[in-house]
């Protein structure tokens, strides 16, 4: 199975406090910084927000905003815009799908993203990724998680 894999490493980004730790670990695990592929999953947008209703916010604008945000806040990791992907959908599935699509060899993910009630309601993204992924998953037990 491993034979067909590319050298790419997928790093899901949730913009939580763990994100820097995950990125650093991923950089260590990847053969080269160019092998990193970051991905952020946006939930689908509701049509009832003022932005949607007045046509001021749509998915392409949201994706652009996230890319800009990533560029501004994570400059020090030198990840080029082409290495950062934004998709819409359900986070766990979308991450696993993306990894399969690009034939990644590894997904590096934090053990916990959000805490408390969201997890109680849906289970964690990490669990979902582990279950769905076709490649290895490296789970970082981060401090404070």
């Amino acid at each position: 199975m491993a034979g067909n894999k590319s050298s790419l490493v997928v790093v899901p980004i949730d913009f939580s406090d763990n994100t820097p730790a995950v990125l650093e670990k991923a950089l260590l695990l990847a053969g080269s910084p160019d092998d990193l592929r970051c991905i952020h999953i946006l939930p689908n947008q509701a049509g009832n927000s003022p932005g949607a209703i007045w046509g001021k916010v749509d998915n392409s604008k949201r994706i652009d905003a996230v890319k800009k945000y990533f560029k501004e806040h994570y400059q020090e990791y030198n990840i080029s815009p082409s290495q950062f992907e934004v998709r819409l959908g359900s986070a766990g599935f979308a991450i696993a799908d993306y990894a399969e699509e690009i034939n990644a060899r590894l997904i590096v993910i934090a053990s916990h993203g959000h805490h408390g009630l969201p997890k109680l309601l849906l289970g964690s993204v990490t669990e979902r990724v582990i279950r769905e992924a076709h490649c290895d998953v490296y789970v970082i037990r981060c401090p404070g998680c």
């Binding site: 952020h40 009832n48 927000s49 932005g51 945000y69 359900s90 849906l122």
Partner: protein, 680 residues
């Protein structure tokens, strides 16, 4: 990684409980003996007004006597049911909700500053003597006396009554009257605690901000006109668009039905206090929306999460009240989610359907009244053939009305739920956009219709204005005196403009600006438009057409709320009730969309953005259920939630008030120094 089963269980129980409670609807809700809350259908002329008052009304009136009356009618309905069944689990849940509502009502509407008051009561002899909004009405020489129904009555002589009359407690007592006269003492007046809280909050903010709602008005208009719009600033929409979205959540039945209730209950004097409440409410709105903007969270994708759930948490944490902030924030969030399901959703679906239904069935219902009258005549004449004929046609007609009612509600519920689903799940923005864009137009049409009616009676304006002022301070139309009329006016206005509740802050947070004060200034226009403009229009129509004390409509036909507004409109121009019905439906739809946004943001704060689809599905289910069933207890519960939101919200805003004040001073200094460049 241990899961916590308890919160999950509670959550599941909550999610399951509402639809289950909703299912108990057909048992009580579809029963013919409970007509729709707003309109008073002629099907059940024996029903008292109290029973037919809208949901929020039942919450509003907690006079002891009325509680007794409600209990009576409930018993009556119980015994009216054709078949007695042992209570099912569903009915038990419904009764649990009823108990919760009762308890909350006692807390929220606990009356403070009550005083002992003396009332006269006359035994029923004439036909004109009846109950009007829970108060006894006694007529003499064309004058009306409104008296509370009291559980304990003390008899008093006619001489004593006459003495009372001379003191001015009773006008124009007919010396020839032979009916027994009773005299009684009751703890009356006072103000419900939630009304005091809302009014107190708005007064505080008005004085603390130095009447910014007055001197900031011009600047607010400039901002809304887009003079300071900067598309590069963070946020989603322009000031004008944020204001429209927030307005579409508040403009609705409160402006049409609630105000009419205030006028019939409180008389012209309530109008004055309503306007005052609108004016002071502007400051509450300013405060909460400034905070909403100040502590909003702009997410990486550029969308905004803001409102009381944010500023209670972050704002209070900044001041070192983190535990309090978290408690208030979570309380608010849960209340807001529950409120969005009921008052912002089921209630709207139900009432808009009812208003339309009422309009469509008007001829049939009039026919039914006519047949019933004919039946009475035939009965009196002893014409058995005619009696049986009439009974059959009445039965057929009643069945037809009932069947149409059921079918219409299902179809209407499906259509409405589909349209809501298209917007909130399908992301079909155009429909939601159309609804919200149509609200200002609909407001305009409504205002024009009202102005037309007012213009038809222009000659009455001076005397009406005199009446409004005299009744505001020394009312004759209501028991409880000056405080009583004040409470009625303030309560209706506050429930309509939702100033202090905190809901609008969620919508206003979405505005594109870096200046919280600027969006706060825009928000203060909201109570102005909602209460001082739109509510006033309804109130003036009700007053100027004389609908508020029209004996035929209010006492004999027992019209109240939207139904009375509709009748007042009809008496002027025949097609205006249709304008009203369409307005109510559009207002209801846009209110559902806006409130679903409020609920969804609260849900997001509590459960994260990934699970909002659960909220959306629940919302759509509730739209349908709300349209089809009359969910008395569940709706009451949700209504209490809207009002309860004011407690965490105003408390937090009071603690954060010095920050708003500092920001305002700073903003105004920079504004005066000309630091803000105008776009045009």
């Amino acid at each position: 990684m241990k899961r916590k089963p308890l919160p999950v269980a509670i959550l599941i129980a909550f999610v399951l409980m509402l639809p289950i409670a909703a299912l108990t609807g057909p048992a009580s809700g579809q029963d013919e003996s409970i007509p729709d809350p707003f309109s008073d259908s002629p099907i059940s002329p024996r029903a008292a007004i109290v029973e037919e008052a809208p949901v929020e009304e039942s919450a509003a009136e907690t006079v002891a006597a009325e509680e007794a009356a409600t209990a009576e009618t409930e018993e009556e309905q119980e015994s009216d049911k054709p078949e007695e069944k042992p209570p099912t689990a569903l009915q038990k849940i419904d009764s649990v909700f009823k108990n919760i509502v009762g308890l909350m009502e006692q807390v929220l509407f606990y009356r403070v500053f009550t005083s002992e008051q003396e009332y006269f009561q006359f035994e029923a002899t004439s036909r004109a003597e009846s109950r009007m909004n829970g108060k006894w009405v006694w007529e003499s020489d064309g004058e009306y006396f409104y008296k509370e129904k009291l559980p304990k009555l003390l008899k008093m002589t006619k001489d004593e009554a006459e003495a009372r009359a001379e003191q001015g407690d009773l006008i124009n007592l007919d010396p020839a009257a032979t009916t027994p006269v009773y005299f009684s003492v009751e703890h009356g007046g006072g103000a419900p605690i939630v009304v005091l809280w809302l009014a107190g909050g708005s007064l505080f903010f008005t004085f603390y901000m130095g009447f910014f709602n007055f001197w900031g008005f011009g600047h607010a208009i400039d901002v809304v006109r887009g003079k300071y719009d900067d598309p590069n600033e963070a946020g989603e929409v322009t000031h004008m668009q944020a204001l429209s979205s927030a307005l579409s959540a508040t403009v609705g039945l409160g402006n049409i039905a609630g105000v009419t209730l205030a006028m019939t209950m409180g008389g012209p004097g309530a109008f004055f206090w309503m306007i005052c409440c609108g004016f002071f409410g502007m400051s509450s709105k300013f405060a909460e929306c400034t905070l909403g903007q100040k502590y909003r969270h702009v997410k990486p994708d550029g969308t905004v999460l803001g409102g009381p759930m944010r500023y209670l948490d972050v704002g209070l944490s900044e001041l070192g009240f983190r535990p309090l902030g978290i408690i208030l924030s979570i309380t608010f969030t849960i209340m807001c989610i529950l409120a969005s399901f009921g008052g912002g959703n089921m209630f709207q679906a139900n009432q808009s359907g009812t208003v339309m239904l009422e309009q469509l069935q008007e001829t049939d219902k009039k026919e039914l009244v006519r047949l019933n009258e004919a039946l009475e005549t035939a009965n009196a004449a002893g014409n058995t053939q005619a009696v049986s004929d009439l009974s059959i046609s009445i039965q057929t007609l009643q069945e037809r009305i009932h069947n149409f009612d059921v079918n219409f509600r299902i179809v209407y519920g499906l259509i409405l739920a589909t349209f809501v689903a298209l917007v909130i799940i399908g992301g079909i923005k155009r429909i939601g956009a159309a609804a919200e864009k149509i609200v200002p137009t609909m407001c305009g049409i409504y205002i024009l219709a009202c102005l037309y009616i007012i213009a038809m009676h222009i000659g009455q304006i001076p005397s009406l204005i005199a009446l409004i002022f005299s009744e505001a301070f020394s009312p004759h139309a209501i028991g409880g005196g000056f405080i009583g009329v004040l409470v009625v006016g303030v309560q209706r206005a506050a429930f309509s403009n939702e100033a202090g509740v905190g809901s609008a802050a969620i919508a206003h947070s979405a505005a594109k600006t870096e200046e919280p004060i600027r969006e706060g200034a825009v928000a203060l226009l909201e109570p102005f438009i909602d209460t001082i403009v739109i509510c006033s229009m309804t109130a003036l129509v009700i007053l100027i057409t004389g609908a508020w004390n029209n004996e035929q409509w209010v006492i004999n036909e027992k019209l109240a709320g939207a139904a009375l507004t509709s009748r007042a409109f009809q008496s002027e121009v025949w097609f205006f009730p249709w304008v009203l019905s369409v307005a109510v439906i559009l207002f209801a739809y846009s209110t559902i969309i806006s409130w679903s946004y409020y609920g969804e943001r609260s849900w997001e704060q509590l459960f994260g953005p990934r699970s909002t689809f659960i909220y959306k599905i629940l919302t759509i289910c509730f739209v349908f259920l709300g349209a089809v069933f009359n969910l008395g207890a569940v709706l009451d519960f949700s209504d209490m939630m809207i009002l309860s939101m004011a407690f965490p919200n105003i408390l937090g805003a009071l603690i954060l008030a010095p920050k708003i004040k500092r920001d305002l001073t700073d903003y105004w200094r920079r504004y005066k120094a000309g630091e803000f460049k105008k776009v045009n």
